[in-house]
Amino acid sequence: MDITALSVSQIVSKIKTKELKAKDVVLTYLTNIDRLDSEIKAYLNVFHDYALKRAEEIDNNPNKKGLLLGVPVAVKDNISVKDFELTAGSKILKGYIAPFDATVIEKIKEEGAIIIGKTNLDEFAMGSSTENSAFFKTKNPVNTEYVPGGSSGGSAAAVKANETLIALGSDTGGSVRQPASFCGVVGLKPTYGRVSRYGLVAFGSSLDVIGPIGKSVEDVAITLSVISGFDLRDSTTAKVPVLNFETYLTGDIKGKKVGLIKEIQNFKIQPEVEEAFRKSLEIFEKNGAEIVEISMPHLKYALSVYYIVAPSEASANLARYDGVRYGFEGNADNLRDFYEDTRTKGFGSEVKRRILIGTFALSEGYYDQYYLKASKVRRIIFEEFKRAFEICDVILTPTSPTTAFRFGEKATPLEMYLSDVFTIPVNLAYLPAISVPFGVDSKGLPIGIQMIGKWFKEEELLNTAYVLQEEAKHV
């Protein structure tokens, strides 16, 4: 039996019927890590002993239940797992051992998941290629000369390389969807407020969401059901019912309205990505959906809004890294110099760049012109989505304007930021969205299609994604 070919629900049911041992599942994935990860470098830390011990506990326990029973899950290293080091891809957290579990970690543990390790990321999730990790670069398993995307590049690469079955990532401006697209796997950004952020290292608090990455829409749907829900420890979580999302994957989208943004033609898109995008629209039509044109003239301002709002929030959130309570300690006698030394030596250049942009945008004399202005344009973009969703059920875009790029190819920060031009508006508007692989370009690099759903309508979004996934098998 090829264990890596089994889905989440197959693994769970086989472990329940004792047809399969959790230990064999974990060993299969650990063997793949041992074999491949010296090249791919998806993991910052592999929990060999812990994962095997958990698997044995599951195998020895006669009471076999849990939606993720025996399922290996890799966790982006900006999510707290109690008693394990948490780096957020940064040197400034050196030696920090998380003293508590994030809510999502508590939830997956309760459902029997086995955490297999922590995955690499751009430092503090700031980046689109995982090149900004303070430790090493992760490679794209499809072609190791290319980046895996980012910032959840380790999570997406681990899933693609069969080094885990499921991974958790975080998405502030596309950090789950863009690497999923680059690596040819499925990545979901839930609605803001659907999943608790307690225990996630804060970057942009009005934008951050934890989301699952998997090989199929079904696996991602099951994981979403597990990690969702109101949490007293995150006052921005919403009191909306948690569904068994996988039961909504019927493949029936007759009469649904798929929105095509008119202004998308003004963006520079790689021709092969454009072609795949057109083809995906045809597939929805063929399945009985109707394509409706929508207009979002302010979409072109989303990148500016994001690169003011996210760094502003980051500059406040990252003020806590001062060397006093945990992590790396600088060297100076005077407290003020100690703060500066800790932060200057502890943060990498992209993190410093964003802290400085945010500090500038919030500073006296510039607040109105930048932060306030951006927050107002954010509302205009939000209202455009709201109007669009009055006439359509889901909106389609490419996930990224291009397929994966080579290491070092994006020479300036601005060039790098442009790879998130279609994912960023979704975070600004608190919406759910998913990236599903749909064909490859002439170099064999995966293309991802993004579907954006209505607020808290992940079940409809996932069903739409399921249709595209099934059709992609025949393309």
Partner: protein, 93 residues
């Protein structure tokens, strides 16, 4: 747009060296110039957006619950003792 980088560094508790400062200044100016397109958007009557519409902030009941343990925090810093973090001198000698 001209940025007084040293002032911003001070506000952010960062201190770049001279080599880093040159390229950082150029990057920041390029990025901030990119934001100029926002000036085209008329926003006089628009309310800024900070939270999503459906989010209602919830307060927890004022009940003491089990939380982080001091022993776990002690592990993070040798200098953590008696419930306080010890820091460097703030007031001059």
């Amino acid at each position: 747009m001209k940025i007084e980088l040293e002032r911003i560094e001070k506000l952010a508790a960062l201190k770049l060296d001279e080599n880093e400062r040159g390229s950082m200044l150029k990057d920041l100016e390029d990025i901030i110039n990119y934001f100029e397109n926002l000036k085209e958007v008329e926003t006089d009557s628009i309310e800024p957006m900070v939270y999503g519409e459906k989010i209602e902030l919830v307060l927890r009941d004022d009940i003491v619950e089990d939380s982080l343990h001091l022993t776990d925090l002690k592990r993070l810093r040798e200098l953590f003792g008696d419930g306080f973090f010890r820091v460097r001198r703030i007031i001059g000698e």
